[in-house]
Symmetry: C2
Subunit: 380 residues, 2 copies
């Protein structure tokens, strides 16, 4: 088996507690070697050749089993007001089929999740969630307030097609009409009577689509249909890519910051609507946080030395000999030809140019703080 | 690497999103080969020799890193009333240091979690949770009701010592006084100034203790201290054991039943206190469920044929050619010298003696329903 990282190579114990995705059999057939667990479901993390998978994503098209990105549906007369309570943005003017990236906060302004919210029907909203139990959170709020709404986790399974040729792949599969689907817009499509909602979205900046499969029994068929449509464009299996997402400045919940972080600290402040009068959970706490200003912040790092190993756990970071936070992710970037890192640090160590001493699994390294997102011009 | 099961052997991708336990370095040094992810933390599942690990648990003593069994603390003036709202049992007379197994349900009577609840102080209750985000659930209820309480996940890390010699091991480590700790009772102990709460508890029926380490920076030291104390009793590394727990009739949340199951359906009805007048979330729905009676139930299975592979996902089960539910776990039992299974089936397929046809990863097998817990006398 391909080693995940120097020094650590563990197997994954399997059992019904951790769910398999509707694409599981197809990914096994395609040679998946590594998984993680995400929303209590297996999420493929590698097919044995990380370099080829990165190239596929950035040069042709990569097909990702992201069924673990579960859909939490609010359905019923109170779906809209409940969705608004749970999101920190004004969602009052969403049309059916429209998606919005909406941070969710708790009553103290701590980030709960950062889903893509889709208005799926007049009275139905779907939160496409990162890795925690929004189902429990949304149910508790709904039931405690007596909302007239059903809160359920749908058995809908996103398959992402990402990369510069993704649109060609999806058009070959679903027809030219799919090219007209706008960013964060979703429309119904089908192939061989496999029904899906298709949106221009996905956790990369390479462009692409997510195919929300509505009937999980057809996962294997959909996977093979996408692969067949994509073959001539160089499409192949891939996974949410920890390098590309850093290069592109995409936030990773639970990876990048501790559980008590707020949206301002992790760069999501622009999706908190405090200027209007929309009411949502956490608004008061967020107003106070905005007034006080940052005490911690997510920053970029340029890490010196040979190709950095992945941070399998937060690495301690010091400035002037004092602990200032942790490095949460690290990788060698083909795009920038340097080691990039993501760190969550105390003010003022967030100042660009601050030099940090980091402990990378016992190896001491030097890193320099840069703004996020990474940008060749600000990287010096 | 040791194969986990015929046909499937996957690596685990690592990253800061999934937390390492305070015992991680020690378990790596001890030769851990497999992990799962539990409460967003790595949980060891094997050290390469399942038979030796089973024997250790049932004949001497096994040391388990169960730090992933996180502690959700309610602290403050409203801790006691909030804990009562969240638990389906009367917890009004719990003394400090006392533990109780308490199912938690949502407002519709669906099981949310089945933690061991510990009254840790006058105004502090700890839920030692199975695998989901009780933190979000408890916070939503607390904040929506305006409770005067702090709800946090503590960085407390249980280390379990389980098996017939567990008491000897723990006494060698902590002194003879620990032998007087009663079942589900917790007391403060320390060794080399490593502070912990120690309870007679754990997810096996072999007897044993859980050492709740209070300072996570001392995990490696505690692990080695326990191993040194246990060496002469044959103690060694182990993990929550999927075979022993079936033999002993212990419930596994998310493994054994779908997310919408209620406590009656999974054999936890005796821990739902409807006869008194204590108010808790879900009470009304549970009264209605009790009145209506069961429509589905968790049952035991005796599975024919050669040693059963583990059920890495629910296996379809049929009775008289009709789907009646799924098999959730399976294993060859050294204690009963048969294949055991756990299935969640519709009434009346829960009747002992019902013959099921099951699809074990493509292999058709016959199984017979027996009552839970397994018992040599009722197994025929």
């Amino acid at each position: 088996m391909a080693r995940w990282t120097t020094g650590f190579d563990f197997g994954l114990g399997l059992g019904a507690r951790v769910r398999t995705s509707p694409y599981f059999d197809a990914t096994v057939q395609a040679g998946v070697t590594h998984f993680t667990v995400y929303n209590h479901m297996l999420l493929p993390l590698g097919y044995g050749d990380p370099k080829a998978e990165y190239r596929r994503l950035t040069e042709t098209a990569a097909v990702w089993d992201v069924a673990a990105q579960r859909q939490i549906e609010l359905a019923g007369p109170d779906a809209a007001p409940l969705a608004q309570l749970l999101a920190t943005r004004d969602i009052g003017r969403m049309s059916i089929g429209q998606g919005k990236y909406v941070p969710m906060c708790d009553h103290h302004g701590r980030l709960v999740n950062d889903p893509l919210l889709l208005r799926a029907a007049e009275d139905a909203y779907w939160f496409s969630i990162a890795d925690n139990d929004v189902l429990l959170w949304a149910r508790a709020v709904a039931y405690e307030r007596g909302c007239d709404v059903e809160v359920t986790e749908l058995d809908v399974a996103p398959l992402a097609v990402q990369g510069p040729r993704a649109e060609d792949v999806v058009a070959a599969l679903l027809g030219e009409a799919v090219r007209k689907v706008g960013f964060f817009r979703f429309q119904a499509f089908s192939v061989d009577e496999i029904q899906m909602l298709v949106g221009r979205s996905g956790w990369s900046k390479q462009g692409g689509f997510e195919l929300y499969l509505l009937d999980p029994s057809r996962g294997t068929e959909l996977w093979h249909a996408v692969m067949a449509a994509g073959a001539s464009f160089g499409a192949g299996p891939g996974c949410p890519n920890s390098i590309e997402r850093m290069e592109s400045g995409l936030f990773s919940l639970r990876t990048d910051a501790p559980d008590d972080a707020d949206p301002y600290e992790v760069g999501l402040g622009k999706w908190v609507d405090l200027d209007g009068d929309v009411e949502f959970i956490g608004r008061k706490a967020l107003e106070e946080k905005r007034r006080i200003g940052l005490t911690r912040e997510l920053v970029g790092l340029i890490i010196e030395g040979a190709a950095a190993p992945p941070a399998i756990r937060p690495w301690p970071a010091e400035a002037d000999g004092k602990p200032v936070g942790t490095v949460r992710a690290a990788a060698y970037s083909p795009r920038y030809q340097r080691n990039l890192g993501i760190a969550f640090v105390d003010v003022p160590a967030n100042e660009p140019g601050t030099v940090l001493a980091i402990d990378a699994e016992g190896e001491r390294r030097t890193a320099t703080v840069v703004p996020l997102p990474f940008d060749a011009q600000t990287m010096g």
